[in-house]
Subunit: 182 residues, 2 copies
Amino acid sequence: MFFQSIKYCSNCGKNVVFSLIEGEDRKRYYCENCKTVHYTNPKLVVGALVYFEDKILLCKRAIEPRKGFWNLPAGYLEDGESAEIGAKREVWEEAGAAVNIEGILAVYNLPQANQVYIHFYGNLVNGIYSNGVESIETRLFEVKDIPWNEMAFSSSTFAINKFLENKKLGINQSHLGCFPEV
Amino acid sequence: MFFQSIKYCSNCGKNVVFSLIEGEDRKRYYCENCKTVHYTNPKLVVGALVYFEDKILLCKRAIEPRKGFWNLPAGYLEDGESAEIGAKREVWEEAGAAVNIEGILAVYNLPQANQVYIHFYGNLVNGIYSNGVESIETRLFEVKDIPWNEMAFSSSTFAINKFLENKKLGINQSHLGCFPEV
């Protein structure tokens, strides 16, 4: 279930309705008892393409969904974090690595999953990495060895492709993507 | 209140605890009755710097917070939207205008407000705009007339400054900002 469903009010515990209420242009979860509107919104996923020399750091997922498939380190942004801090935390947790963030690589939308990815790019500090707790394996891949057919999510495939395009052109462009394409 | 507080379970209506539970690396809202973890996350705000010839489109806010101050059209991303679609909707709602999105201008973080902004940039279609329902006034400003001291939020000031920097340099760079700066 990607879209949040709300049955009871988190503020007073009474039943919530899903209806068109005054001042709103679309249906909202609303508590008629304490008059609270419960807004629901897409979640932000933050991650990084971490490179070292000519190699790219990928993690093999130890958890579902897509366990056993390769991915750029990424995960949900937590309360109180900036996107950059969240991406650094994910790189640490999933790849046991520190990254120097250099810029924004991609904003990639999955509206049907109610997610927006922000992928940064940056270099791997001192070339050091290990297996994070959420990874079976972490590895630096030469471009020719990238396991394109074993990637976990289209967000990573998109980000890696755009990174390689940038590199070929010698630019640092940020890219906007969506699945399905619109 | 920027950070969400959860007292009752939205799934079963029973009391929720805020504690360190198994498999989580930080305190979570948790229902001991139905075993639901209630994750809370920052919200994504999407908007656009809309230009026409050498002018920039600003809206004077008709609603709190910062009613009466100028802003780039922006607002919370809604369920099921891509960031780009959400930004176009906000431009329509606040400025009665259509925008051709050309790229990502800025990712701007307000961790203390639990918000991440994505500002796009793009040109105003046919130069047509009006006052959206959430605006007192909408106006195209020459750069020399931008009301810097009457801006609603630092996110807009940041985005406009970066757009002007890009223009001066003849580039389309995406920028990363944070308030407070880190």
